[in-house]
Symmetry: C2
């Protein structure tokens, strides 16, 4: 679902070829999604089958492998808007593997669990710093749209929430509130 939305979204602006799409995703959206080559080419084929995009051109730069450039069609634009609206509307339930772990906690010695939590704390603190500095960098560039900051903030608030929760849990474990 994400794959199609992203591809259609990027083709919405201008025609692109597969490898280029992968690069754009990594460069500009790498913090918020990750899509494998296989998925991109698979999706491009599928979208072309469905007439949401057309192969417009096969460029060739020197003797490099030739590039198949795709262009979005009118029905493709409609599909893009449909997908975008659908994604906006859904509030997805996030599942955390750590919740599952907590269910099976008794299988591990308490000390080990505490160590894991301390490690998690450190990781989260590092991540927080990384996002923050990344955000500040972006903020300094005037042509970055203000909305980009909202996306950073999103990651930020969740990471902070996670850190708070871990800290609280660890504190409760150390005070002996949990057996």
């Amino acid at each position: 679902m994400t794959v199609r939305l992203v591809i259609l979204g990027l083709l919405h602006k201008r025609p692109l070829y597969g490898y280029e799409i992968k690069q754009i995703i990594e460069e500009h959206m790498g913090d918020w999604t990750s899509i494998a080559f296989g998925s991109i080419y698979f999706a491009l084929d599928k979208l072309a089958d469905e007439k949401f995009i057309d192969k417009v051109d096969v460029e060739q730069e020197g003797k490099r492998p030739s590039r198949s450039v795709y262009q979005i069609s009118d029905t493709g634009r409609e599909e893009f808007l449909r997908l975008l609206r659908e994604s906006w509307q859904q509030v997805e339930r996030q599942y955390f593997s750590i919740d599952i772990c907590l269910f099976f906690l008794e299988a591990l010695p308490l000390d080990e669990v505490k160590n894991f939590l301390r490690l998690r704390q450190k990781t989260l603190q590092t991540m927080l710093g990384y996002i923050q500095s990344h955000r500040d960098e972006q903020m300094a560039i005037p042509e970055v749209p203000r909305l980009a900051l909202a996306i950073f903030d999103h990651t930020l608030v969740h990471t902070q929430a996670e850190l708070n929760w871990v800290t609280d849990l660890l504190q409760k474990m150390e005070s002996g509130e949990y057996p």
Copy 2:
């Protein structure tokens, strides 16, 4: 990954058959994961191939379809601990589809976006209330382990963080800070 961990974790306590596993997951872990029948039977087959579990019995109650009961093996217990440690240790990056949407925001009229956000606010408030009352219910039952509350808190802090962020974003959009 989750599927295997959960199945091994449940079989850790006692032998079970596929349908039973599905029921336990829905009843006791329904708020934190969701695993389809197909995934369970697929994983059971795979785990049996790998000798992490053994088919011990084919019960039949009346003329109902027969049940294949699986039991965890010694290597299965090891694998369970390995998976559990692995899951504990990883701090997974969560991807939110709304972040992707924000990238393509300009494709939708601003009013529509604001409406989506208001709707999202309401949904999150409802979710928050639901989790809270669920948590209170559990708290009232003395035999529910205190840790279960930690899991509720986890969901709670993230939902609250999400709500705060949406509220902030909406406020900024309404004050005209974002075009």
